[in-house]
Structure formats: structure tokens, C-alpha cells
């Protein structure tokens, strides 16, 4: 296991290195300098600022400096919010996004698995059809439209939930639902088809033939095996939640990292764009590693570091 972890960690570092390099190149290609704005800055001041931030150095020096800083988890200063570093922004906003993200993941997983399981157990009945209609709708409604609709009906019309901001548990409900719906629908479909597969397999028939009751067969034998595809969906789930947060946090005025990222994009605050991109990628790589570890823990047929193991 130790060797496997080291190997995975190595490939993670390589991936991150490429990501840092690519974002650095992209941001160099971006039009306009970091201080370009509506107000014209006197050339002397711009010169001084370039000096201060090391922008007069040759590109490769800037690149190596950036790599060195990133390796020490330092993303440099923000060019638009003077006096703030990118690390400050990430530290300040990430807790909101984390909270919202975890709540959404919990919602997506619990409701998605539930819908998938009952759809499979009541295969080809109205329960099944209803669940699958919900799933198709969930996939077809973009998260920002759902967010606006929820906001309109529950906050503006009915007034039962707060419109925006992020102060209490009640505030988290609408954004979390908006964020969770699409991945929830995917999970429901995944869960249903894998549950149907498993319910038709021989060991389930054996278990039933032994005279075990329905509930034990369903939950102890079938569900445990059928949930594996959902576990491997956890990586894409994290991606969906993360990118979804860009718009959802914007709509609900949540001061999270997704909203900060969108802000930095509209402000062309290049260091913040780079920093958050690298941060998101690192977060994603770590969560995919965790999912893979979880996978091997849950399913003993899969050995560490071995590809495949498809059943």
C-alpha cells in the first residue's frame, strides 16, 4: 500500500506541475497587463509596480519563481485587491464553499441512491417511472436556472426561505438543493441500472432461495455491491459540485471560493485566477485519490495499484 500511495502521490505532483505550467502560460497570453483598468495609471507608477511584483524579470525567471512559490503553497498577491494575497482570499472564502459542497454531496448521494434503489426494486412500476422522470428532468434543468426558480418560488413568492446570503442552516437549503440536483439525477440513474444488474445475479437468487427475507437480501447483499458504480462517480460528483458553485454562489450571494473565482475572472485578476485554478485542481486530485482509496477499502476484489478489477 505504501508503494502505491507514493506512486499515486508522484503522479499527482506531475499532474499539478502541468496544470501550474499551463495556467501560467495561459495567463501570460491573456490580453492586457495585470494593472490594466479603466483608469490610466501613470507610466512611472506602473513601472514601479512591475518592479515590485517582479514583472520586469524575464519570463522564465517569473515562471520558476511562481513554481517555487506554489510548491510552498503561496499563490502571491492579488492585483485587484491591494494588500490581500491569494492565500487570504482562499482562506477566507473556502469554508463557505466547503460547507455548501459537503451539504450538496450529502443531498445528492442520499436522495440519488434512495431514488435509484426504489426504482430498481419497483422495476417497471409507476414508482420506477416517476423516479426516472425526476432523474431525466434533473439532468435537463441547468443548475443556475433551477437556482433562480427556487429563489423565485421559495424565497420571493412564498417567503419561507431566505433569498440569499449564508448565515444559518436555512440559508443553505436552496443553494444546496440547486447544486445537488443534477448529480443527484445521475446517481439515481447509475444506482438503478447497477441495482437491476445485481438483483438479477445468481448470488441474489441463492440468497432468496435460502429463504432470507427480502430486506436482508436487498440491503445486505444487493445494495452493498450495487453501490460501487456510485462510489466511482464520486470524482465527477466533486467536479460537478465545484464548478456548479461558480454560478450558485453568485446567484445566492455566498462569499465562497466559486464566487471569488468568477469575480477574479470578470476583474481579470490573473494571480487570483491562477491561484484558485491550482487550488481547485489540487483539491480535485486529492479527492480522486481519496475516492480510489475508498474504493479499494470497500471492494476487496480490487487490489492497490491494479487496474481494472471489473466484476
Amino acid at each position: 500500500m505504501g508503494r502505491y500511495l507514493i506512486q499515486r502521490f508522484g503522479s499527482m505532483v506531475v499532474s499539478l506541475f502541468f496544470i501550474v505550467t499551463i495556467t501560467f502560460i495561459l495567463m501570460q497570453l491573456a490580453p492586457g497587463g495585470p494593472f490594466a483598468s479603466e483608469k490610466k495609471i501613470p507610466p512611472e507608477i506602473e513601472q514601479q509596480m512591475n518592479e515590485k511584483y517582479g514583472l520586469n524579470d524575464p519570463l522564465h525567471i517569473q515562471y520558476f519563481n511562481y513554481l517555487k512559490d506554489v510548491a510552498q503553497w503561496d499563490f502571491g498577491p492579488s492585483f485587484k485587491y491591494t494588500g490581500q494575497s491569494v492565500n487570504d482570499i482562499i482562506n477566507r472564502s473556502f469554508e463557505y464553499s466547503l460547507l455548501l459542497g459537503l451539504e450538496s454531496i450529502f443531498l445528492a448521494l442520499s436522495i440519488g441512491v434512495f431514488l435509484g434503489v426504489i426504482a430498481a426494486l419497483r422495476h417497471n412500476t409507476s414508482v420506477d417511472y416517476t423516479a426516472m422522470v425526476i432523474a431525466v428532468l434533473g439532468i435537463s434543468v441547468p443548475n443556475f436556472i433551477l437556482a433562480a426558480a427556487l429563489q423565485y418560488f421559495f424565497a420571493m413568492k412564498l417567503g419561507v426561505l431566505p433569498v440569499a446570503r449564508f448565515d444559518s442552516f436555512l440559508h443553505t437549503i436552496l443553494p444546496a438543493v440547486a447544486l445537488a440536483t443534477t448529480p443527484m439525477a445521475f446517481i439515481a440513474r447509475l444506482m438503478r441500472s447497477s441495482m437491476l444488474d445485481v438483483l438479477n445475479s445468481d448470488y441474489i437468487k441463492t440468497a432468496k432461495a435460502k429463504g432470507l427475507n427480502e430486506r436482508v437480501v436487498t440491503y445486505r447483499h444487493a445494495l452493498r455491491n450495487a453501490i460501487m458504480p456510485v462510489v466511482s462517480y464520486l470524482g465527477p460528483l466533486v467536479v460537478a459540485i465545484l464548478t456548479g458553485s461558480f454560478v450558485i454562489e453568485e446567484i445566492f450571494d455566498i462569499p465562497g471560493l466559486g464566487a471569488e473565482f468568477v469575480n477574479s475572472v470578470t476583474n481579470r485578476d490573473y494571480t487570483v485566477i491562477m491561484g484558485t485554478t491550482v487550488f481547485f485542481s489540487a483539491l480535485l486530485l486529492v479527492s480522486i485519490l481519496l475516492v480510489d482509496l475508498l474504493y479499494t477499502l470497500i471492494d476487496p476484489r480490487i487490489k492497490f495499484g491494479k487496474e481494472g478489477g471489473k466484476s
Binding site: S15, F18, I19, I22, T23, L26, M27, L29, A30, P31, H123, V136, L137, I139, S140, V141, P142, F144, I145, A148, A149, Q151, Y152, M156, R192, S193, L196, V239, L242, T243, F246, V247, E250, I251, V262, V265, T266, R268, I273, T277, F280, S281, L284, L285
Partner: protein, 312 residues
């Protein structure tokens, strides 16, 4: 299965006489032979939901051209006398804050959104099929290098890449499509690669090689056509994704720029005035959802029709 009611009068004496035993007759195939695609179409036709989806797409396609002329308005002329009007006989879907007719804008937006969605998906298919076929067919080192590149590009979330590219690219329809296809083809490449790897050891490939066909011919004449099913399904499911991405980017102000209108820009403008003029959000939002729904059910229907084994 309901038995058709037998009518006594329809049976005649001749029906009970033994048939002549004839070897040649027994070998005849009585039913019309159906090709794989005819068979798939027959199954697809049974899926009411998928047919509905097809109808919706055809309708949207036609309306994207006829909608503007029908309304009698264009999508860009401001009319400050009729700003933010609710739907009426004059303006069927109402007007926006600049007095532009939402009916005309909706159908113009349909044109843009559908164009971007279909175009991006097609480019994804072209790059993905070529990349995946080469990687899967040659295997070994080639495969490893090609898929390694794909993996690294794939490890950054899709929307993040598109946003970063849109930050540096000049904004326009084609740059938007370029940004969306930059990593969008990878999914297709993976699917094609998997299929090609499975198929390359089939006898017909060996036969083609024995007859002197070169790699190009084997790949694109023999292997790719045999993976057309999964390719088509993925293509259909990529389109709603692309339409969503366009709307998402336009919502963030990184997509289609004024005076062009897409469903995404219309949604984005309407959300800021949601409290007062919800109808402005309703129409573009409804059509985005309807289009994505239609493509999704067509894709599902195609998957069921082309791969009956996977059907649940």
C-alpha cells in the same frame, strides 16, 4: 398477449390440408431481412419519449428560422416605449428591459444555442474519433502517450478549462466553440479507443489486413463504422452538455456577446430582474430545459435501440 378472436367462418377446408414438403421452400427466408440500423430504428420508434424529443428538436430547428419573421420584430432593435412589457398580443413573450421582443429573441437564441451545441459536439466527435481510433488501434507506446496527454487535460475540470480559455481568447462565436472543444473531445476519444481495442482482434480486421489494407483503411473503413453506435449516442448526449456550457458561460458574461442573443445571455439578463419580471426568465429557461431534455431522451432512446443488451 391477447389472442385474436377466431372467426369460424374464415376457416376453410383448404386450411386443414397438409402442406407439400419441399426442400427449396424450407430454405427460403420468409421475413424481410433487416439490417442493424433498420432494426435499431424499429426499436427506437417504439420509444415514445425519444420520438417526442425528435419532434421537439425538429420544431425548434424550424422555429429558429421562422420565429423571427413570424413575430415581425428583430432581435436587436431597442424600443424604449415598450420596455419590460408582460406577454401580450403585441409581444407574445413580452419585451426585455431594452424593449426588444422576447419572442423574436428566443428563436434567434435558439439558432445560436443549437448551432453552438451541434457544432461543438461535431468537432468533439471528429477529434475524438481520430484520436481514439489511433490510440486504440496502434496500442502500446502510442496509446500510452496519447492517453496520458488526454488524462492530464482531463484532470482539470471541463468548465474550469473553458472559463480560463475564454479569459484569454477574444470573445466570439468561434472562440467559444474552440474553448468548448479544447478538452471536450477527450470523452469521445476514450469511448472510441475502448471500442477499437475490443474490435481490433476481430477476424474481419485480420481479413482486411491479409488483403493488403493499410492501417488507415482498417481504422476508418472497418473499425470506426463498427463503433458508430456508441459514437452516435455520445454525440447526442454531448449536445445538451454543450448547450448547457454555452448558457453557463454566457451567464458568467464570458459567452456570446451583445448584440447576439443566446438563451444563456437572455437567462443571465433576466435573473437580475427576476423579482419584477419573472416572465423574462421563464421563456429562455423553459427552452433551454426543453432542448436539453429532448436531446437527453433521444440519446437514451438511441442507446436502448442500438444496444438492446444494455436495455433495462
Amino acid at each position: 398477449m391477447s389472442q385474436p378472436e377466431l372467426n369460424r367462418a374464415e376457416l376453410e377446408q383448404s386450411d386443414f390440408e397438409p402442406l407439400v414438403r419441399d426442400e427449396a421452400e424450407a430454405e427460403k427466408i420468409s421475413g424481410e431481412s433487416t439490417s442493424y440500423w433498420q432494426d435499431a430504428w424499429r426499436r427506437f420508434k417504439k420509444n415514445k419519449l425519444a420520438l417526442f424529443g425528435m419532434g421537439v428538436i425538429v420544431f425548434l430547428g424550424i422555429m429558429s428560422f421562422l420565429g423571427g419573421p413570424i413575430s415581425g420584430y428583430d432581435y436587436y432593435t431597442n424600443d424604449y416605449m415598450v420596455t419590460n412589457k408582460a406577454p401580450s398580443l403585441e409581444h407574445w413573450f413580452g419585451t426585455d428591459p431594452l424593449g426588444r421582443d422576447i419572442f423574436a429573441r428566443t428563436w434567434y437564441g435558439a439558432k445560436i444555442s443549437l448551432f453552438i451545441g451541434i457544432m461543438a459536439a461535431l468537432i468533439d466527435v471528429i477529434i475524438g474519433v481520430i484520436w481514439g481510433a489511433i490510440a486504440g488501434y496502434f496500442g502500446g507506446r502510442t496509446d500510452e502517450i496519447m492517453m496520458r496527454i488526454a488524462d492530464i487535460l482531463y484532470s482539470v475540470p471541463y468548465l474550469l478549462v473553458v472559463i480560463l480559455l475564454m479569459v484569454i481568447l477574444p470573445q466570439g462565436l468561434w472562440t467559444l466553440i474552440l474553448a468548448m472543444t479544447f478538452t471536450g473531445w477527450i470523452n469521445m476519444a476514450r469511448i472510441v479507443r475502448g471500442q477499437v481495442m475490443q474490435l481490433r482482434s476481430e477476424e474481419y480486421v485480420l481479413a482486411a489486413r491479409t488483403l493488403g489494407a493499410n492501417s488507415n483503411r482498417i481504422m476508418f473503413r472497418h473499425l470506426v463504422p463498427n463503433t458508430l453506435g456508441p459514437i452516435l449516442v455520445t454525440l447526442t448526449l454531448t449536445i445538451p452538455n454543450a448547450i448547457f456550457t454555452e448558457a453557463f458561460l454566457s451567464y458568467l458574461g464570458l459567452g456570446v456577446q451583445a448584440p447576439l442573443a443566446s438563451w444563456g445571455t437572455m437567462t443571465s439578463e433576466a435573473i437580475s430582474a427576476l423579482q419584477y419580471y419573472p416572465f423574462q426568465l421563464f421563456f429562455p429557461a423553459f427552452f433551454i430545459c426543453l432542448t436539453m431534455l429532448a436531446f437527453n431522451v433521444i440519446g437514451d432512446g438511441m442507446r436502448d435501440a442500438l444496444d438492446p443488451k444494455a436495455r433495462k
